[in-house]
């Protein structure tokens, strides 16, 4: 039984999926039997499936599970589908346009080992602009524009048993993550490591280098 189940929803992410998936399968100091990655393809209309099948052959069938559903467009609902299938002791999240740094799971593992009573451990995240140049995804790390942006979905690692107590994600198109994780925080002792271990990107439109966060397409940002 794997120790960590990693949940990755994907909708039309052919370009970004490879980097996200490899950042999970190449985590430092996590044995191959200790991790499963559940990719839920939310009815993509691009070649996300082709890319995913390529990754399954290159990274190992036993690690990656491909779950394809008809398009829902609700991040919480899509993550719930994966939670139902998760067999690990711990659940972690990596959105398909973002990536983890190699020490993400091991950092949470150290905190859970030091303090076995914790229900959830949260790392910090870094902020980047992503853009596409000649078909390649490029990244430029920048300091987060908002001082309180330190923890998000990609930072969270919680025990699977938390779900039995607090229930699943709600079906809102946004805010579903804060609601879910604050229910865990209210029900279990939790801790923050203060260590950056994932990078979140916001995709630039054209040549415009200014920060854009288009709420209208939030449902695609997972």
């Amino acid at each position: 039984m794997p120790k960590y189940s990693v949940i990755m929803p994907a909708y039309n992410r052919a370009l970004f999926l490879g980097r996200a998936v490899k950042s999970v399968t190449t985590q430092d100091c996590i044995g191959p039997g200790d991790i499963e990655l559940i990719v839920v393809d939310d009815g993509s209309t691009d070649n996300t499936q082709d890319v995913l099948n390529g990754l399954i052959s290159s990274e190992g069938k036993q690690i990656i599970r491909n779950v394809r559903v008809d398009h829902v467009g609700e991040p919480g609902t899509v993550r719930n589908i994966a939670i139902d299938q998760a067999s690990g002791d711990f659940i972690a999240y990596c959105d398909s346009d973002d990536y983890w740094l190699p020490h993400h799971l091991a950092t949470a593992g150290v905190w859970f080992k030091k303090n076995p009573g914790l229900g959830m451990v949260s790392n910090y995240w870094g902020f980047a602009h992503f853009w596409v140049e000649n078909g390649q995804v490029r990244t430029r790390i920048i300091v987060p524009p908002h001082p309180t942006w330190a923890v998000n979905t990609n930072c969270r690692v919680h025990r699977k048993e938390c779900v039995a107590k607090v229930g699943l994600f709600n079906t809102s198109k946004w805010g579903e993550d804060n609601d879910f994780f604050s229910r865990i925080e209210n029900a279990f002792p939790c801790d923050k490591t203060g260590i950056v271990s994932s990078v979140n990107g916001y995709i630039q439109k054209g040549n415009n280098l200014t920060f854009q966060f288009d709420k209208g397409v939030r449902s695609q940002y997972y």
């Binding site: 100091c29 190699p102 091991a106 950092t107 910090y124 790390i141 300091v143 950056v196």
Partner: protein, 253 residues
């Protein structure tokens, strides 16, 4: 406890900044939190006159893997490093700086790399630069990795992050340890890598396993930058002579 397989060597001189030991604590905890646990942690207190002694004694009381070497007065980083090196019992020594943080997997990754490559005398890594709030500022991962390329590049510049390296103690002692000469002060690491690279394989691991506090290398960054630049230039000149002939390809003991 069994003999430690890795000695972590950390010199510290006045490790508190603006009266706060926050960064010193983060640095110490980043070693005590390593996934690789069979280590000893040698902290050299180089004549600190602030709260450093109290902080490191507090951690020593909690974790028997810590040993403290207290120098009677401020001797400078070169002598402090050599004093600490003499206390290291393990064959592998990892450097840690008092205002950097290692990612929790650092020692496990580096030890495996060294175990897989018995002919390699030292490995370094890239680094994440973070600001005072632990926010990611940039990732520096562009250093050469392969020995042949590293050896050539050392003729021009220092291609190792000092606080990221793990080396075999026998090889470093074989080339005389850190130089205590005044003229290489502030670039004593570069000087050692050149002497080590002359006949031993030294490499960087692709990837990043160290955090670096950009705003807290102030001692080097502000006060000594001109001296450091001069020492670096001097060592570069020596490196072109030292590394002119092909390596003897010694195998570390």
């Amino acid at each position: 406890m069994s003999d430690p397989e890795v000695s972590v060597l950390m010199p510290v001189w006045n490790g508190c900044r603006n009266g706060s030991d926050k960064f010193l604590r983060m640095s110490i905890e980043s070693i005590l939190n390593q996934t690789f646990e069979n280590l000893e942690f040698i902290i050299v207190n180089d004549g600190s006159r602030d709260g450093t002694a109290g902080t490191i004694e507090e951690y020593k009381a909690k974790d028997p893997r810590i040993r403290i070497v207290t120098l009677p007065q401020n001797m400078g980083i070169q002598k402090a490093l050599n004093a600490g090196l003499r206390e290291c019992r393990a064959r592998l020594v990892a450097r840690q700086d008092a205002d950097d943080m290692s990612t929790v997997t650092r020692l496990e990754v580096q030890k495996k790399f060294m175990d897989d490559r018995p002919a390699t005398a030292m490995c370094g890594t890239g680094m994440y630069v973070i600001n005072e709030d632990n926010k990611l500022v940039m990732e520096i991962n562009d250093r050469p990795c392969n020995y042949v390329v590293v050896r050539e590049a050392l003729k021009e510049r220092c291609v190792f992050v000092h606080g990221s390296v793990m080396f075999r103690k026998s090889a470093v002692l074989d080339v005389g340890g850190y130089s205590e000469e005044e003229r290489v002060k502030h670039a004593e690491d570069y000087d050692l890598w050149v002497r080590l690279a002359k006949d031993y394989s030294v490499e960087n691991i692709p990837g990043v396993i160290l955090y670096f506090h950009r705003n807290h290398q102030s001692k080097i960054g502000n006060v000594y930058s001109a001296k450091q630049a001069a020492a670096t230039k001097l060592i570069g000149g020596m490196a072109r002579q030292t590394l002119a002939s092909p390596p003897l390809q010694k195998i570390p003991g």
